[in-house]
């Protein structure tokens, strides 16, 4: 079986130790987590983990089984890139002087459909959401001018199919 990128989504009760348990499942199998995002989900008091890994389908099934076994985990799913809508977010901090001295910068911002988050006397901050490749492309464009700081978030994604978590939760009651 060949390696592929999989997005694992985990719906869980909010619990202090759970991140440790979940990351341990990857650690134990020596599988590298490419990106991890934890946030509130559409359901009150239910958290959602989004974990991106590069591995085989057999392994990802096995991992999802082990994740679902954790007491606080309500349900875990995995999807391929084709089955999800996903993106990352990045922030670029750039010296303000460039905004006025380098006319090209303004074009880059416009063409890349990124937004200016803030402008101060010394620097301005650009936010760009999109696929990894789009963010990398933008990075390459800014790079020659000098990037003061750069940060990229973990992947967030929603599936194309329905994920019936609310109905599932109803059945638990």
């Amino acid at each position: 079986m060949e390696d592929k990128t999989f997005t694992i989504s985990v719906y869980s009760e909010n619990n202090v130790g759970l991140l440790n348990r979940i990351s341990g499942i990857f650690l134990k199998r020596h599988i590298n987590i490419l990106s991890l995002n934890v946030s509130e989900s559409e359901i009150e008091n239910v958290s959602r983990f989004i974990i991106v890994v590069n591995t085989t389908e057999k392994w990802v099934q096995n991992i999802v089984g082990q994740i679902e076994k954790q007491i606080e985990v309500i349900k875990a799913f995995y999807h391929t890139d084709e089955e999800t809508i996903y993106l990352e977010n990045a922030l670029f901090k750039i010296a303000s002087s460039l905004l006025f001295d380098e006319k090209q910068i303004q074009n880059i911002i416009k063409d890349s459909q990124s937004t200016i988050v803030t402008v101060s006397r010394d620097f301005f901050v650009i936010s760009k959401s999109g696929r990894r490749s789009e963010i990398e492309e933008l990075y390459e464009k800014f790079k020659p001018y000098g990037i003061m700081q750069f940060v990229r978030s973990g992947r967030i994604s929603v599936s194309k199919e329905k994920m019936e978590i609310s109905t599932l939760l109803e059945t638990f009651k």
Binding site: S12, E13, V16, G17, N20, R21, G24, K28, Q61, N62, G65, Q66, E68, K69, I71, E72, V73, I74, L169, F172, K173
Partner: protein, 562 residues
């Protein structure tokens, strides 16, 4: 009722029906110990000699009784000493609740005296764990702990309680936990899958059952017997499934795996339908996966969905409670006898008897007492009614291969983790849980010295366990591997041992050492007749090997008889 957190801990245990706990005191758990003193009429505390002994004793208790075992320890080193037993319980699905003390909440994370992140340490080896930092959390969390430990696929749970939470007072009330929103302990049985499985079994020419501990944990021994008898399917067992079916049942064909019987291993690669009942295809059972039962359609009866298709691809997975599933499938099964197929097992058994078993049980090589004949002697005097607790090594394999069992929950051993030092404390727990039964621990000279200090617990509690040390003056199992796979290079496996009898007598335990075959019978008879604990050291042949054997990484049909 306004009480302290420490008192609440005791009251919660009583509410859960606990009357016996194993533990070792220390600073961070002292408030709980103070309450144990107050409640000693209702809750008996056994002071072990090392916290590892507490977890193993609690395991022995749980495995013999089917109830939850409880171990208590202080923070830091007390807590870390529990970890081996917890890991052992996790892999062998043993229900345990471990309670550890922790430094006060305001000190957490400050590297305070005897502070250890036991939640972090125990996470990979517990079914669930939780740190309590406020007294008022105690009832709910302990109720959850017991529910999680015993429900579904059982396992160990650890509850860490900060010292302030033990001291603080709150209004106590207790409610048992009956469900947790995100936790489905037993998947719902799918009757279509049951019917599919039944059809496959009915059409099979050479069906074969392999059963594991799931039968015992699911209390499905009767159902297993009925299923085997109606379907006529020969059944083999994993080491943890041992004793779920009486040894002398005509359809019991023996043990699977690395040192299992010849027939069941070989014929695993010949059966057309393999019916796995409450077992998880451990690698010690399957050998090389790529050649394991490839010709067979596999039916897997399993409570834990994560085990299905994990190691072996199944044709039909019957998820759910094994007892319920067997009850459902029984009426759908055709009554058959499969005589020809069963004869294949018998033929292979004959070969094994001639090449291995006869010589092991009645040695003619003039070498010395064999482990096998010692086991036979124990069978003779126990008549198959004893609980046998074995440690880890060659003696364990001999015990599991040769000990006879009439009833379930009689074989207690460390299967998945293979923890040396397990048997002595586990035997204490087993005997305390089942005082009416004879409990015999079978231990190697190596493993005995890993928890030898629990002789002190035996002396102090006067628990009448029988201890048999099979002394070959080697770390026998490792030596066997060195002989077979490392050119006889016996690196650090020779043991220069102390005078074990003197040590046991130092603990005021009646003892005997046997070096001659002709003394064995009388010594075992005396041990079994003893009302008190008894220590028997048997000097056995130094370089005996356990056969059959499937070398690691080899396929089950490459099983070697010598």
């Amino acid at each position: 009722m306004r009480i302290s957190g420490a008192e609440a801990v005791i009251r919660c245990l009583l509410e859960e029906g606990v009357d016996l706990v194993y533990g070792y005191p220390g600073g961070a758990i002292m408030p709980v110990y103070d309450e144990l003193y107050k409640f000693q009429d209702q809750l008996h505390h056994v002071l072990v000699r090392h916290e590892q002994g507490a977890t193993h004793a609690a395991q022995g208790y749980a495995r013999a009784t089917g109830k939850v075992g409880v171990a208590i320890a202080t923070s830091g080193p007390g807590a870390t000493n529990l970890v081996t037993g917890i890991a052992d319980a996790q892999i062998d699905s043993t229900p345990l609740v471990c309670i550890t003390g922790q430094v006060g909440r305001h000190l957490l994370g400050s590297d305070a005296f005897q502070e250890t992140d036991i939640i972090g340490i125990s996470t990979p080896v517990t079914k669930w764990n939780f740190q309590i930092t406020e007294a008022s959390q105690i009832p709910e969390i302990i109720a959850k702990a017991f529910y999680i430990a015993r429900s579904g696929r059982p396992g160990p749970v650890l509850i860490d309680i900060t010292k302030n939470a033990q001291f603080d007072e709150f209004d106590f009330s207790y409610e048992k936990c009956t469900g947790i929103r995100s936790y489905v302990p037993v998947p719902k049985l799918n009757l279509d899958k049951v019917a599919e499985a039944a059809a496959l079994i009915n059409s099979a020419k050479k069906p074969f059952i392999v059963f594991g501990q799931g039968i015992i944990l699911g209390q499905a021994e009767e159902q297993l017997k009925a299923f085997i008898e109606k379907s006529g399917v020969p059944a083999g067992w994993t080491i943890l499934g041992l004793s779920a079916l009486p040894t002398d049942h005509p359809l019991n064909v023996g043990m699977l795996g690395m040192h299992g019987n010849y027939g069941p291993n070989l014929l695993t690669n010949e059966c057309d339908v393999l019916i796995a009942l409450g077992m998880r295809f451990d690698d010690r059972v399957t050998g090389k996966l790529s050649t394991y039962a490839k010709q067979a359609k596999v039916i897997h009866f399993e409570i834990d969905p994560a085990e299905v298709d994990k190691n072996v691809k199944t044709e039909v997975a019957v998820l759910g409670d094994v007892k319920e599933a067997l009850n459902a499938i029984l009426p759908l099964i055709d009554a058959k006898s499969h005589d020809l197929w069963h004869n294949e097992f018998k033929e292979l058994y004959k070969i094994e008897v001639e090449t291995v078993i006869n010589e092991e049980l009645n040695p003619t090589n003039g070498k010395g007492i064999s482990m096998g004949e010692t086991l036979e002697m124990i069978n003779k005097h126990s008549k198959g009614d004893a609980i046998i607790v074995s440690d880890v090594g060659q003696h364990q394999m001999f015990a599991c291969r040769y000990a006879k069992f009439n009833s379930t929950k009689s074989n207690i051993t460390s299967g998945g983790l293979g923890t040396m030092g397990f048997a002595l404390p586990a035997a204490i727990g087993a005997k305390m849980g089942k005082p009416e039964r004879e409990v015999v621990a079978i231990i190697g000279d190596g493993g005995f010295q890993m928890t030898i200090q629990e002789l002190g617990t035996i002396f102090q509690t006067q628990v009448p366990v029988k201890i048999v040390v099979l002394n070959n003056e080697f770390l026998g199992m490792v030596r066997q591997w060195q002989e077979l796979f490392f050119d006889n290079r016996y690196a650090s496996t020779k043991m220069i041992n102390p005078n074990f009898v003197a040590i046991a007598e130092g603990y005021h335990i009646k003892s005997k050492k046997v070096t001659q075959r002709e003394d064995l019978d009388a010594a075992v008879a005396e041990m079994m007749a003893s009302k008190d604990s008894y220590f028997l050291e048997v000097m056995v042949e130094k370089e005996n090997n356990v056969f059959p054997m499937i070398p690691t990484g080899a396929c089950v049909s490459e099983i070697r008889l010598s």
